[in-house]
């Protein structure tokens, strides 16, 4: 059950970032295509080739008919969802950075105490957010507000805040539990680079840098 939640979290944020990237790329390509089709119409008119003219007109009509104005808005909402769930995933993998010079220097009971305070801070904050967020979503839902381009119901979009925060709260509790039982904390390596082993192997075989 927990594994399923972990997996779901990962899949959601992976798909969202990929989809947003492709969407904006398509929107840019689309804008260029309109310009290109318009140029083609102009060219065909100048050289007076009837077939090309018809083709260019049709292309322009088709490309111009596809509306991509909603892309920006969709991208923003996708990233809002990605940010909220990604933040929860980040708690699990220890990506959130803090100022840990004091905690690093302490040992034993003091270390335990200060880290417990730090993590409880996360629990408290995300719990408050879940509550405020849920309250806010409730009011928006009653107001029936919709988004400007996509005309989506805003409360569904804003649902990211209470849901993401609740998940994050759960992750902080999990991390706290793990810290108490095993004394370990997830830690993200910000200097990680893939493919360095292969390079080092190449070097060892006598290849020059």
């Amino acid at each position: 059950m927990l594994r399923l939640l972990d997996r779901l979290e990962e899949v959601i944020i992976t798909v969202l970032i990929a989809a947003a990237t492709i969407l904006i790329f398509l929107a840019v390509t689309h804008r260029f295509a309109i310009g290109f089709a318009a140029d083609m119409v102009g060219f065909a008119r100048n050289v007076e080739i009837d077939g090309l003219m018809r083709f260019a007109r049709a292309t322009f009509k088709f490309v111009n008919g596809l509306k991509m104005t909603w892309a920006q808005e969709a991208c923003i909402y996708m990233f809002v969802w990605m940010a909220k769930f990604g933040a929860a995933y980040g708690v699990r993998t220890g990506i959130h950075v803090g100022v840990d010079i004091l905690a690093e220097r302490l040992t034993g009971a003091r270390r335990r105490a200060i880290t417990t305070i730090a993590m409880s801070g996360g629990v408290v904050f995300t719990a408050i957010l879940t509550w405020i967020g849920a309250d806010f979503v409730w009011h928006v839902a009653k107001g029936g507000q919709v988004s400007p381009d996509l005309e989506l119901k805003m409360w569904i979009i804003y649902l990211a805040v209470p849901l993401g925060s609740a998940l994050m709260c759960f992750r902080f509790l999990q991390a706290l539990h793990m810290f108490w039982t095993t004394g370990e904390m997830a830690h993200h390596d910000h200097g990680a680079v893939d493919g360095l082993d292969e390079e080092a192997d190449d070097l060892a075989k006598g290849g020059q840098a």
Binding site: I17, I22, M82, G90, H96, V99, I114, V193, E199
Partner: protein, 440 residues
């Protein structure tokens, strides 16, 4: 008084080691519930709308583009190109490492990853050639920081985000236009090159003084193949800068296009990454972006509290009355940022400090773009200063030298960077000439 209270709460929470984003958020709530009558609804709205700006969305795209190309194979291509071009001069591999760091950092956008990638390939090679490990560590640790100054730079996007929409007045009482992402990127080009040259200069000087080995001059054909190999990666910067400056796309669109480009290069041209590894890159980038976006959301709330308590205005009135002037103010800002930079991460510092310092700087007549670049240079130095300079940690784990030893090894280059900071702070022309020439 209120300002002191807010910052005392923040400092207290930060010291426990809790994530910066959480500490910011809790400060806001503690202050709201305990000491203020700002309505909760206003804050709740910020919570939802804080990151709903299309410019902010450049961050995940830039991170994604960088992650596709943050790979050992790309580092090797940059190193080969750099050493074939400059390896035969004084400083040999040391000079090559400065150039490779600059190239790789510009593409990957992450300083610690640059130190890791370039360092793990070049450090052993340098030691084998008879350089002291300290020399290599010094060059790579400092040059690794170039990533946040050479565009595309996340920290610059952060500054643009933190200051955009702030209504501030110049010394003449006229409203000041905040710096756009495009302005900052263009303005970062010359300072980035100057710093790279200054670091290279220090490297060459020390290599000449201690007579370190040089590489044989590479034949033209090698240079050409090395260039052709690395040009795919370097095109990323050209696409972004050319696209933004040429008005072809907005920074966010440029970032998205560069992410797709980076994907194609990494998977189909360089073949460093298999198609099956792509989800992992996506997941990592999403997690990294989510962390930064989370800091932004909470920093926006924090800035909102500061503004509603009139803190930046009070501070700027106080500083202007005190008569520090521009020169004194910039000095104070630099010292303060260098100190904060020793314990905190660049993006977080910019998001917290920019809203406070920016109105003061504008009131004293500092150019918004110039001020932004100055902040970025400060952040860069912070990455190489103890106790928590990330670059130092990576270099220390790579070279098996202790943190103190690494710090001492980096010292000559750190001094160069401080000189550069003074230059940037007091000679705005270095930063502003290029954007002005381009009519921005």
């Amino acid at each position: 008084m209120t300002a002191l209270l807010i910052f005392a709460i923040l400092a207290l929470l930060l010291v426990t080691g809790m994530p910066v984003s959480i500490a910011l958020g809790l400060t806001v709530f503690t202050f709201l519930f305990g000491f203020s009558d700002v309505p909760l609804d206003a804050i709740a709205l910020k919570l939802f709308t804080g990151i709903e700006k299309f410019e902010i969305m450049a961050i995940p795209f830039f991170i994604l583009a960088g992650n596709f190309l943050t790979h050992g194979g790309v580092a090797r291509r940059m190193i080969r190109f750099a050493s074939s071009m400059v390896g035969h001069w004084y400083g040999g591999l040391g000079l090559a490492s400065v150039v490779s760091c600059a190239l790789f950092a510009a593409i990957s956008g992450s300083s610690p990853a640059t130190v890791m990638a370039v360092g793990s390939i070049l450090l052993p090679a340098m030691v084998k050639q008879g350089y002291p490990a300290q020399f290599g560590v010094g060059t790579i640790t400092s040059a690794g920081g170039l990533g946040i100054l050479i565009p595309p730079s996340i920290v610059m996007v952060m500054y643009a985000v933190a200051t955009s929409g702030m209504v501030v007045q110049g010394p003449d009482g006229q409203p000041v236009m905040s710096a756009s992402i495009g302005d900052l990127f263009i303005a970062g080009v010359v300072p980035g090159l100057v710093l790279a040259m200054m670091l290279a200069g220090t490297t060459t000087y020390r290599a000449w003084k201690f007579n370190y080995p040089r590489l044989p001059r590479a034949p033209m054909i090698d240079r050409w193949t090395a260039f052709r190999d690395s040009v795919w990666g370097l095109m990323l910067i050209v696409i972004i800068m050319g696209g933004i400056y040429g008005g072809i796309f907005t920074p966010t669109e440029a970032a998205a296009v560069s992410a797709v480009y980076a994907f194609v290069v990494a998977v189909y041209v360089y073949k460093d990454i298999k198609l099956s590894e792509v989800p992992k890159v996506l997941l990592n980038s999403a997690a990294m972006s989510a962390m930064l976006l989370y800091i932004i959301t909470n920093a926006v709330m924090f800035a909102f509290i500061l503004t509603s308590e009139q803190i930046p205005q009070a501070l700027s009135a106080w500083i202007v009355d005190f008569g520090f002037g521009k020169i004194g103010f910039l000095l104070i800002v630099n010292v303060m940022l260098l100190m904060i930079g020793m314990v905190m991460e660049p993006s977080a510092i910019v998001l917290i400090m920019a809203p406070i310092l920016y109105p003061v700087a504008m009131a004293l007549g500092v150019d918004p773009v110039h001020f932004g670049i100055m902040l970025v240079v400060n952040m860069e130095i912070g990455l190489c200063t103890p106790p928590v300079g990330l670059n130092l940690y990576v270099a220390s784990s790579l070279s098996k030298l202790g943190l103190t030893e690494v710090t001492r090894a980096t010292w000559p280059w750190l001094l160069t960077m401080l000189t550069f900071l003074a230059l940037i702070s007091y000679v705005p022309a270095i930063t502003l000439t290029l954007p002005r020439l381009l009519g921005m």
